[in-house]
């Protein structure tokens, strides 16, 4: 069996895999990732309802389309500033539990 494993090692990838690091990161950041994923779902629902494209959303949020794409995957640790921009651009109420008095 040792010989078979050695033969398999002759076909090992040239670079190391990032899977374990990613998996550990997902486990460590589980809590905010769930928020990020739920927000992405709300955003995608609203975009579909209103027919808004990623490009249009990026223009409204004054950010790049690449950044919008990342947010929609549900993998971004969103700042309050970004959350506020999302609310405004899509007329969503993500932070409604937090009231700000003028």
């Amino acid at each position: 069996m040792k010989n078979t494993i050695e033969k398999l090692r002759e076909h090992a990838s040239a670079t190391s895999s990032q899977w374990r690091e990613e998996a550990e990161s997902r486990a460590a950041n589980r809590s905010w990732l769930r928020y990020s994923q739920n927000i992405a779902m709300l955003m995608l629902d609203k975009m579909e309802q209103t027919g808004m494209t990623q490009k249009q959303l990026a223009e409204k949020m004054k950010c790049s389309q690449q950044y919008v794409s990342k947010i929609l995957k549900g993998k971004e640790n969103l700042s309050l500033e970004t959350l506020s921009k999302i609310e405004e651009a899509l007329d969503l109420h993500l932070l409604s539990a937090v009231t700000v008095s003028a």
Partner: protein
């Protein structure tokens, strides 16, 4: 194709031609990507509704993320002490005898809201030595019914053929294979 050693000599994952990382990386990346999952469940909505009675796509996405988390933890917890023969099961539920480079599957066994639709597929190189070839969100009774699961069968066969062509198999296994095809 090349191979990544996940656990020293024990568990491997295939890195297919043109891919930056192995199948394990790609699977869990997809199973945590809301855009990818939404697109998948829109394409396969009929199956989610008819087999799992789930109408809400966002619920299907959440269930996948939860099950994916559980399955990824199972994979992360694999060590040299883990008996992989208990993690992987024969792909064909009715398989009665061992075959050379057999096709296997792993899935989360706990039931949260419904039986998990996530699968990880592998080739068994030897007792307690497995090579992960891919995985899928399996919504139908058989893999032949849908293109994305059929593709996994093709990939398993490709990896199996590669191993046989390169003679990455122990001598007893090779003799068994010759006898199998005779």
């Amino acid at each position: 194709m090349t191979f990544d050693e996940i656990i020293n000599g024990h568990l491997w994952a295939v890195r297919y031609e043109g891919e930056q990382d192995n199948v394990l990386y790609n699977l869990f990346d997809h199973w945590n990507d809301v855009v990818w999952l939404r697109s998948f469940f829109k394409q396969n909505k009929k199956d989610v509704v008819s087999y799992f009675k789930i109408e809400d796509i966002n619920q299907a996405i959440k269930d996948t993320i939860d099950d994916g988390e559980h399955l990824e933890r199972l994979m992360m917890d694999v060590s040299l002490m883990t008996n992989l023969d208990t993690l992987f099961r024969p792909l064909d539920n009715s398989r009665m005898s061992e075959s050379v480079l057999s096709k296997e599957k792993a899935r989360p066994h706990y039931i949260l809201r419904h039986v998990s639709w996530l699968r990880i597929y592998a080739i068994k190189l030897a007792s307690d030595v497995y090579i992960i070839t891919g995985g899928a969100i399996k919504l139908t009774a058989t893999m032949q019914e849908r293109e994305h699961t059929r593709r996994e069968l093709v990939n398993m066969e490709k990896v199996r053929s590669f191993l046989l062509n390169e003679r990455i198999i122990d001598e007893d296994g090779f003799l068994d294979f010759i006898n199998e095809i005779r």
